[in-house]
């Protein structure tokens, strides 16, 4: 896949998003006012943050199904910290959330790296473990709005230059990880380890360790999102964001991330998430039933994968395997 094709894939997806917005606007013009679009972006922020982490994990030929459970567990822990120590400043809470999330991600990463357990099995297991841990910590009780401190709840909604802080954090994450992926040795290692693990090994890249870092990043982003989610909705409970991991994977797939690894960009993951976010926000206002919403999201995923496959096929391989003349 050449860079140019990748770029055009992102351009294509942007085009699809514009067409989608135009269709919605034709029935409900208010949807495309800047204020509403900013709302949609803010609503989609958790999906974007998680999709960035997931994109990196998928890039290394792994998958992280525990992101939503990680989000819920970290969210519960920081909510309980806030209940116990209401005076703790928000930056410390955020640092805790990122740290806890990263530790949970490292747990996945260690299992994949050192024990060489298939990632889908590891993260299915830890997904259940994380949910179970929330139950143990909370006794199945909810942490409700009135128990949380005001600064804890206010932070993500605070406005700065017309956008909520949550949106700014997401924009910062997109820029930061775009830089990491394109301009650091770690970012290059993610692409190499997923693109051809054998070649990467011979080039001196430790593939297992690279996957470990991918899970760590995914976990850290899930932890950060956990705090943002709990504070924005002012509630923490066992089933928070249940099943959300599938939306995250879907966003990556729509965003052109190759499920076989090695191909994907932060911009693609963000656009994939926005595409799903717009569908989710727009369809109710144009009076389409939730069942159709699911069908449309599903169709989008299949169309995206079909387009990716086609792109790979039409490209063709120029390397003619020379006829073997020798024994």
């Amino acid at each position: 896949m050449s860079r140019h094709v990748l770029m055009s894939r992102e351009v294509l997806l942007s085009g699809a998003i514009l067409v989608l917005l135009a269709l919605i606007a034709s029935r409900f013009p208010a949807f495309i006012t800047p204020a509403n679009l900013a709302n949609v972006f803010n609503d989609t922020a958790p999906l974007i943050l998680l999709a960035i982490g997931q994109m990196i994990v998928i890039l290394t030929r792994c998958i992280d199904l525990s992101v939503a459970a990680n989000l819920a567990l970290t969210g519960m822990v920081v909510a309980m910290i806030n209940v116990a120590l209401p005076g703790l400043p928000v930056p410390v809470i955020i640092a805790c959330a990122i740290g806890i999330g990263a530790l949970l991600g490292m747990f996945n990463g260690i299992l994949v790296w050192k024990l060489e357990i298939p990632p889908i099995v590891v993260t299915l297991g830890t997904m259940t473990i994380f949910r179970g841990t929330i139950f143990l910590l909370s006794d199945g009780q909810w942490v409700n709005s009135h128990e949380l401190s005001d600064p804890f709840k206010a932070f993500p909604r605070a406005e700065f230059l017309g956008l909520p802080v949550m949106s700014w954090i997401t924009i910062a994450a997109v820029l930061f990880f775009s830089l990491v992926m394109s301009r650091t040795t770690l970012g290059r290692a993610f692409y190499a380890a997923g693109g051809n693990p054998h070649a990467a090994t011979y080039a001196g890249i430790d593939v297992g360790k690279t996957q470990f870092w991918a899970f760590t990043i995914s976990g850290a982003l899930a932890g950060l999102t956990g705090y943002l989610w709990v504070s924005r909705f002012a509630v923490a409970f066992v089933d928070l964001a249940g099943g959300f991991e599938l939306n995250v994977v879907a966003a990556c797939v729509i965003g052109g991330v190759a499920i076989m690894g090695g191909i994907g960009t932060v911009a693609g993951a963000m656009l994939g998430a926005l595409f799903l976010g717009i569908i989710g926000n727009a369809l109710p206002v144009v009076d389409i039933s939730p069942f159709w919403q699911l069908a449309i999201s599903g169709a989008a995923i299949i169309i995206a994968v079909a387009l990716n496959t086609q792109a790979n096929r039409t490209k063709g391989r120029i390397i003619l395997k020379r006829a073997e003349h020798a024994s």
């Binding site: 650091t184 290059r188 692409y191 070649a199 990467a200 090994t201 080039a203 003619l320 073997e324 024994s327």
Partner: protein, 513 residues
């Protein structure tokens, strides 16, 4: 030379007896591929109840013959005869229907299926409603396995069997389709000594059942033990055939390698400098032992041996992919311990593996990113990549290799095979190594590309790089190396230089005769 020895007097039941019609024969078969003649006017006869050994070095045309006999390739000239009648195997299916079956070096079987399912895949006995009759299938599998003396339960899952038993299953599969001709392509390459003995017994059983057997092997001891007849190919042409009882090993070696090898390789100025690599008492629990050798700047050291002699395994240990259990390595007189490939690269050793397809390039990434991959330490600062530096490095080394591409941003997957290979070599040169290990550098590439690789190797040595070349091609080993180490069964069998470097000595030491 012993040609077409149909009427050779036989001592121990050799060749077909007079007037016998071969079960399967090639007459004057020619096969060409663009730019190369793989087979030129070759003939081969296989008789019922006889084992014919097909002998030749890598590149002699053995695999091409197997592919023609099994219907994968069609000959461009000459005829194929079954029971004396001219036939055409348009497909592999047609060859199978005529009773020709091949057992390959790496058996093509299904690990997750049972033994019986493997034997009957594609032609299972059918019961009512066209469903597979499992009981009948297991029963027949049991009969066939018993017939070849294999004590294997047909219900066992294949992956629970050892490699030798898998071979038996492959043979049982061949028998299940009523094979008259069984082609065995290096069947003992991966077997232990005991398993080889069992295979010999099986070959005897098959002979007694009247099968015609084509036995391809590099090992002279087994050829002389089990074959009745031999056919020797060299460079795609028949150089001799007859009864095995009428030749000696030395004569066969001579037929196999007898050629002038000097003219096709680049003349190079030998400019051998200081000692750079010293390996002493290097060993691994299962793969090699007692490995000691030295390497100098500007030297090309060839490693010759049969497939499976432990050469690649030794190189992988030197490169930090596997861990040796003992021995020392000195680079520039400094003792070093190499723990990982990154370590090896940092210490100046690089390894260009045999299988460039799976171990070489990262096809989804652009050229420049492939080239700089092992050198990221030099093209980055504090973990941040310096793009200008990356492009500079990539440009320098792709230019040196005359790599033609629209831009360094081109994805490697869009390049031709030859150019992909240049990217891989550029990648390693860019690390500025002291020692470069090339594992089968010209395997599977066309003659023009081979010459380019040889020129390039000579240039590397001229620049003072120490080169280790692992190769199974005798002309290449002789034409390129200053010195050759021959390995056999994980040990160094010989170290040869000067006049001792002849095709015969290489083959003798490699085969242990």
């Amino acid at each position: 030379m012993l040609m077409q020895a149909d009427h050779m007097p036989s001592t121990s039941g050799t060749q077909g007896t007079q007037g016998d019609i071969p079960v399967l024969a090639l007459n004057g078969v020619t096969k060409t591929f663009p730019g190369v003649t793989a087979l030129s006017q070759v003939s081969l006869q296989l008789f019922a109840g006889k084992v014919t050994a097909l002998i030749g070095e890598n590149g002699a045309g053995k695999s091409t013959v197997v592919k023609i006999l099994t219907g994968i390739y069609q000959p461009d000239g000459g005829t194929l005869e079954v029971d004396g009648a001219s036939v055409r195997f348009a497909t592999a299916q047609a060859a199978g229907d005529a009773g020709v079956t091949a057992i390959h070096q790496e058996t093509v079987l299904f690990d997750e299926l049972s033994v019986a399912e493997n034997i009957f895949l594609g032609h299972a006995p059918r019961g009512r409603f066209g469903l597979i009759d499992t009981n009948a299938m297991i029963e027949r599998a049991r009969e066939i396995l018993a017939g070849i003396g294999a004590n294997i339960d047909p219900r066992t899952r294949l992956r629970d069997l050892g490699i030798a038993s898998k071979h038996l299953v492959a043979i049982a599969r061949a028998l299940s389709i009523d094979a008259r001709v069984v082609i065995m392509d290096e069947p003992t390459a991966a077997l232990s000594q005991k398993e080889i003995e069992e295979l010999y017994e099986l070959v005897e059983t098959l002979k007694a059942q009247g099968k015609a057997i084509l036995f391809i092997s590099h090992k002279f001891d087994e050829i002389f033990r089990i074959a009745d007849n031999y056919t020797v190919f060299r460079d795609g042409a028949l150089v001799g055939s007859g009864a095995i009882a009428d030749v000696t090993e030395a004569e066969v070696v001579k037929m196999m390698v007898g050629r002038d090898v000097s003219q096709i390789f680049p003349d190079r100025e030998r400019n051998i400098g200081a000692q750079i690599l010293v390996v002493d008492g290097y060993e691994h629990p299962t793969e090699f032992a007692e490995i000691s050798f030295t390497l100098r700047r500007g030297e090309i050291l060839g490693f010759y041996g049969l497939v499976g002699a432990g050469r690649s395994e030794l190189m992988q240990a030197l490169f930090g992919i596997t861990r040796p259990s003992g021995g020392t390595v000195l680079i520039d007189a400094e003792p070093v311990t190499i723990r990982s490939p990154a370590d090896a690269v940092a210490k100046g050793i690089v390894y260009v593996p045999e299988d460039r397809g799976t171990q070489g390039a990262i096809t989804a990434l652009p050229i420049f990113q492939n080239v700089t991959l092992p050198s990221l330490g030099r093209t980055s600062r504090n973990g941040f990549l310096q793009l200008a530096e990356e492009f500079r490095l990539a440009r320098e080394y792709t230019r040196r290799l005359d790599l033609r591409a629209a831009s360094l941003d081109t994805t490697v997957g869009n390049l031709s095979g030859g150019n992909q290979q240049k990217v891989v070599i550029a990648k390693w040169l860019a690390t500025q190594p002291k020692v470069i290990i090339l594992d089968e550098p010209t395997k599977g590439i066309d003659i023009g590309s081979k010459a380019a690789v040889h020129d390039f190797m000579a240039e590397l040595a001229a620049q003072g790089l120490a080169v280790i070349m692992v190769s199974s091609e005798i002309p290449e080993v002789l034409g390129m190396s200053d010195r050759v180490i021959v390995m056999r069964e994980g040990l160094i069998a010989a170290e040869l230089t000067g006049d001792a470097l002849t095709p015969e000595t290489l083959v003798r030491h490699a085969a242990g005769i």
